[in-house]
Symmetry: C2
Subunit: 119 residues, 2 copies
């Protein structure tokens, strides 16, 4: 069996695998990236996020927000208003995900279109 492509050295491959593994560890799962997108598009409040992200329950949203906050992607603020308002905002660090989000959204759009054409 000959190789189909010139592969990177094994070490490089493992490095890439580890990098992607680290990324998935913090932003993997069904909801995290969607929450980040919804936040980045101006949805800052709990119920606003829940309404925007179709299918997510309050429990899951609550848990995921805590997780994202812990990992430095979300800043939670309780405002002194009445009724109480809580906002969740993307941090500076979240903006480093820009390329990831854009390439994923772009690919998803292309894939969706491909599926649509194939029926």
């Amino acid at each position: 069996m000959e190789k189909l492509l010139t592969p990177l050295p094994k070490e490089k491959c493992v490095q890439k695998l580890n990098a992607v593994g680290d990324a998935l560890y913090v932003i993997g799962g069904k909801w995290k990236l969607r929450i980040i997108i919804a936040m980045s598009e101006g949805n800052y409040r709990f119920n606003e996020l829940q309404r925007t992200i179709e299918g997510i329950s309050a429990k899951v949203l609550s848990n995921e927000l805590k997780d994202l906050e812990l990992n430095g992607f979300v800043k939670r603020t309780v405002h002194d208003e009445t009724p109480v308002v809580v906002t969740y905002e993307p941090t500076e660090y979240t903006h480093t995900l820009k390329n990831v989000l854009n390439s994923l959204a772009e690919w998803g759009t292309m894939h969706r279109e491909k599926l649509r054409q194939e029926g």
Copy 2:
């Protein structure tokens, strides 16, 4: 509450959420992207993949490969050799994930480095 950024219209946001949702539906989960990377780096055989991808079991690898084949990311070939050799190769369609994989690997590397510095 004023908006922090000028958000896209709601419709655009939902479109982006759906696109990412579609993407995650086929390439989400703990292993699929790692398998695609390992394959793309010249690991074509079952045990070779299992050795390269740390932590994956034969059962999971077997299931994920079937899934990836079904979705058009993997071409499975049984070779007439002795002992029997089976190869799993990335398809043309898999190459459309290039940007996704690169941006994710790049971000993961950066994130890993950040974690390392923070201890």
